[in-house]
Amino acid sequence: MRIFPIESTGHSSAAACGDESGEVPKLDLPLVRREFLKGSGVLVGTLATGSVLALLAPSPVWAVELKTLSKNEGQTLMAMGRVLFPHKKLPDAVYALLAKDLDAKASGDAAAATQLRAGIAALNQAAGGSFATAAPARKLEVVKAMEGQPFFNTVRGQCVTSLYDNDMTFAVLGYPGSSFDKGGYITRGFQDLKWLPAPSREASPQSWAA
């Protein structure tokens, strides 16, 4: 039996961390959290307990940092995304990705930032103060009135990838994603449908893997 001393053996470098001493030295890592809070706003939320995502996620709490837009502006864009592409099953965390991607666009392009800010202001004004907290029917009305405008098209265009090209949406909608790493579907039910008569061997020959 090996005995590990509890008190410090005086090692202080990462290389010293090992089975021998069992010590995990404290490293001088950069303070990621401090960097994180440098942004213009942070969107935070919680995944619903018992949902598909809550089971998969390492933590039910999520946070998205904005670099240019404010928290309020981010929330307004999230609300607009939900009006454009309403999915009851998708959590706010997905719509926050829309705000994040539009924020990135605004950070890299002053004209885009101006367009987004003006659009957000117009949404709030049309909703009589706060678009994000307006009643669902009012939100729909406000967004519909903007259809075809450049701001509307920017947000809608971004939704295509922001809302649908992410692992959370894949999981919620049941899209299995990459298949090559699982050997494809050749041995995983690509022809397991049973409720119709089987096509003839001529129409559908046997697989090489059968």
Binding site: G157, T161, D165, G177, S178, S179, F180, D181, G183, G184, Y185, I186, F190, Q191, D192, L193, L196, P197, A198, P199, E202, A203, S204, P205, Q206, S207, W208, A209, A210
Partner: protein, 278 residues
């Protein structure tokens, strides 16, 4: 890969390495003719293809801004993106579905068959199916088209079962899994289909025919072949120095950049290639 001197006027320059360019390059090389293929896209392989629609789009699609106009929906929604075609070695043969159907006899005579259509300039083909048949057979054999050249058909997936049942109910007599340039069994040094469901993102099993891992490596094996991926930017910056800028096929990049491209671009990535036929 061959080193072809810039002053060698026996060499043929082919723009693009897709279905047409890649195939032509191999055919010429097999006859001992030196070929330089200029390809705008970068070199990928079955190993580097990505089973993810959007990431793959970023990897192999033609991303340069393009325009479209008119009243169709794409002009409104994605005016800068009118078609999903490729800018990569192998061109759109990396992206295509593999469906390889022969035209039918009457389709060579559309004008005769359907008559004049007002406002259209409908014409008959100047060739017939009979004339083209031997070439179809040759192409099908090269590409490994199922249900030709003694190649078995692909097994039908669940979608096919639904389509088959519906088509039979509608009274169709011939319903099968089609003529696909996708290996149903190992052939020509390439693996069979794994039913990945990502044909359009570049076939990771190499079962689907693409010049990337068929014609191009075969051309390369002749020692008559030279290819420069990512040729567009350098070629366009040097076309003013080319000798005959009037013709795109004879426009050659300035000497030193052509050498650099030929000697550096391909060999560096060669070792990454996997599942080749040679």
């Amino acid at each position: 890969m061959a080193k072809i001197d810039f002053s060698d006027d026996s060499a043929v320059v082919i723009i693009g390495s897709g279905a047409g360019g890649g195939t032509l390059a191999n055919e010429l090389c097999q006859k001992g003719i030196k070929v330089i293929v200029l390809e705008a896209g970068a070199l990928q392989s079955s190993a580097t293809f990505i089973n993810d629609e959007w990431k793959s789009f970023g990897q192999i699609a033609w991303l340069d801004p393009r325009t479209t106009s008119g009243t169709w929906r794409v002009a409104k929604d994605f005016a800068g993106l009118p078609a999903w075609v490729c800018k990569t070695v192998g061109g759109t043969t990396t992206h295509w579905a593999g469906a390889s159907l022969r035209l039918q006899a009457h389709e060579f005579k559309v004008r005769t068959t359907y008559g004049e259509i007002k406002g259209a300039n409908l014409m008959d083909w100047p060739i017939t199916l009979d004339e083209l048949t031997p070439y179809y057979a040759k192409a099908e054999d090269k590409m490994g088209v199922t249900r030709t050249s003694g190649i078995p058909g692909l097994p039908g997936n669940n979608n096919f079962k639904v389509m088959h049942a519906g088509a039979m109910k509608l009274g169709y007599k011939e319903v099968h899994t089609g003529n696909m340039a996708i290996n149903s069994f190992p052939r020509d040094g390439r693996a069979p289909c794994l039913q990945l469901g990502f044909c359009f993102q570049g076939c990771k099993s190499g079962a689907k025919w693409s010049t990337l891992y068929t014609e191009l490596p075969k051309a390369e094996a002749t020692g008559k072949w030279s290819c420069g991926p990512r040729a567009t930017s350098r070629a366009s910056s040097t076309t003013t120095k080319a000798r005959s800028p009037a013709s795109s096929t004879s426009t050659r990049p300035e000497r030193s950049s052509a050498r650099r491209r030929v000697s550096s671009a391909w060999p560096a990535t060669r070792s990454r290639r996997r599942g080749c036929c040679c």
